[in-house]
Amino acid sequence: MNEEAVRLSHAEVRLGGRAIWSDVSLCIRPGEFAAVLGSNGAGKSTLIKAILGLLPLSAGSGTVLGRPLGEANRLIGYLPQRRSFDAAARIRGVDLVRLGLDGARWGIPLPGRASAEARRRVDESIELVGAAGYAERAIGQLSGGEQQRLLIAQALVRHPRLLLLDEPLDSLDLPNQVTVAALVQRICRDQGVAVMLVAHDVNPILPYLDRVVYFAGRTAVEGAPREVITSETLSRLYSAPIEVLETSDGRLVVVGTPEAPAIHGDRHAHGHDHAH
């Protein structure tokens, strides 16, 4: 199983007659943790949807787990951008995880060995993300961090070989961002799952990353974090002078992006001034 988890070559996606991005080439291998970075509207979610085959490529080609895009979705765990459940959502976390396992199947589940096995896998997945304490409660009554863990459990329950996580850290406070990022890395390493995680702020995940896909200027570059997040690469990508600064504790700060800074923030609770 040495095939790439995801490979795109010179890919382009058009929406409403407009190219969202083009000439995107990337290669993510099994067990690698990749971040998908870039400003709002740069096409990060579009990439995830293209890998799932929900949006067609208008040029170039791609494979996922050695198959055409959209044909390996059963082997992919997907966590869409969102999505918090409102307080009225009357469904338990454990039910949501179970839907991730066999929710696409027709007919009524009958009690028996298959059902016990399903139950075991749901419990195992919930255990893995450390959500056993609250999985039996209605999802709408849980905090953002608790909901996010259960959604990751849902994405994991079919033992996927690729995890596509669209901004899983976005709705979380800083301590939760760090613990969820550590959780994702542990899964990535222990289970040999390839992970593509869309993020707004690279710093909470920077220590864990193998690859970075950086979207800007209607295209993207892919490479090792310290190769991509440099003044030189980003200036070329944005066609504007960009400066990447490194703080004494190893955080990266990008200065001079045309839009709101895509990479920013403070890993520590004190003095952080997040816009959201």
Binding site: N73, L79, W106, G107
Partner: protein, 270 residues
Amino acid sequence: MHIDELFQFHFMTNALIAGTLVAVMASAIGWFMVVRQQTFAGHTLSLVAFPGAAAAALAGAPVFVGYFAACAAGALALSAVSSGDGHARSLGHESAAIGSVQAFALGLGFLFVSLYHGLLNGLDSLLFGTFLGITDDQVLVLLGIAVLALGTLAAIARPLLFASVDADVARASGVPVAALSAGFLLLLGLAVAATSQITGALLVFALLVTPAATARLITSRPGLSLALSVAIGLVVTWVGLAIAYFSIYPVGFYVTSLAFGLYVLARVLR
């Protein structure tokens, strides 16, 4: 006044069988409607049932044919209006469109009623329900529809629940979200048409929404909640029919009041 009196008359037996079929169908399909937050669509279908029945009476066709034809047409219209493949289901636009359909349907209904003067006596039962005069044929039709609707619902229940609570992930897992949405509206149309015949067009919600809303107050386990919804639907229908038999007021009133009473009880005790 004896309970066994209820079963002495053929019309009453028919009413109880029809009521049972309707209660199971309405509360099961209604449960999904509540989960999908489509109560407004359900309400519209119930108002579409009214001109359907009035038009059938005007045309000299059996009233129940009018109910079913109108609700099926209404369901197709609604799924055409609300298709946008659910991607960015703009609820504001959708409810405005559904509201326009609803107002037009109600207007048509009153037109048909005034065109057909003979129906005026029956207006009460069209709007508020009756259990009198349910024929053997109607019971058979209801049985066929209940078997069809509940069988279909059982087959699609899991993907439908998935698509209802988590459309994006369901779509990525290969669930045909848009097709399920259209199919469910058709099922809802069938349930509304069947329920209209017992509770009347205006009180369909007593069986479609209230049992589901009550069950969801009591538990957040989906299977249990669905079963509880059906149980509540059955109890309020049976008791409602029994009381209506001994009284002069329409059955819809009793079913509604009982269902509402249970709902309030569940809220208070929660």
